[in-house]
Amino acid sequence: MAVVFERTKGLRPVSTHYCPGCTHGIIHRLTAEALEELGVLDRAIGVAPVGCSVLAYNYFNCDMQEAAHGRAPAVATGIKRVLPDKFVFTYQGDGDLASIGTAEVVHAAHRGENISIVFVNNAIYGMTGGQMAPTTLAGQRTTTSPLGRDPLHAGYPIRIAEMLAMIPGAAFIERVSVDSPANVRKAKKAIKRAFEIQLEGKGFSLVEVLSTCPTNWGIEPPLALKWLRENMIPYYPLGNFRDKTKEEATDE
């Protein structure tokens, strides 16, 4: 009899504060497993954002810094420039990364900063009680788009992966989802690949993970996965948007 699945050592043995069924938990696990499997836990320094995952510093089993809202990529830059041999990653929500922190993530990519980012897009501001995010879908109701997001007023949701892929410094950009076991497995692969890119010294890597917020969407967890599948994936197509290592391979 073989254990085919058990709790990763990449997470501390504590229970998280996340709401029941919130896929932040899954994404934490994938991130932690990647750290563990790549053997970098003891030289990893993670950066937690401001958002529901603000307490990530209590969960990942490695050194952690808690950054100001949106500034995780800048903080990670500071860390990486001081300790280029350590493994540095940020874990950020869509309010954090795609709204207030836009300049910081764009310029970390622009500098080809050799860090990795796990970007959790749940189309809402979870922590503050469900306000509209730049990634909130057209028509989606939130506490600051009470009648549903009106693209004529607030624009069409921003596609971060596509945008960052246009920046010369970005080495690896992929969008994944955690709505099904199969997609979770793919997500894990992408995160691990992104981390390897850093270990290979190739530069900036980011994985956008489509995620749920059952609480603020007001949808039961299993249905929230369905909602993600049916509403988010069509607008936010899954796939790789940039992989410099492959481009280089083709170049040869």
Partner: protein, 72 residues
């Protein structure tokens, strides 16, 4: 038919979200409506352990690392 897999739940960590239940291809997981765990939730459990194929889909979807899966 002998079970090919085995799932174990750290029941007190469970938040009763039901994601494992809907992920199991054999539909053998259920919420235990009788029990309230330390955290105040009805935890999930395996209602028909014999059928488990050890595919780990349940564990893959559990946000709280409640489930350990073994395969024979």
């Amino acid at each position: 038919m002998a079970a090919k897999g085995k799932v174990t739940f750290s029941r007190d960590l469970c938040k009763g979200c039901g994601l494992c239940v809907s992920a199991c291809p054999l539909k053998i997981l259920e919420m235990d409506r009788e029990t309230i765990n330390e955290k105040g939730y009805n935890p999930a459990y395996c209602a028909d352990p014999q059928k488990c194929i050890g595919c780990a889909n349940c564990a893959m979807m559990c946000p709280d690392q409640v489930i350990t899966v073994e395969r024979f």
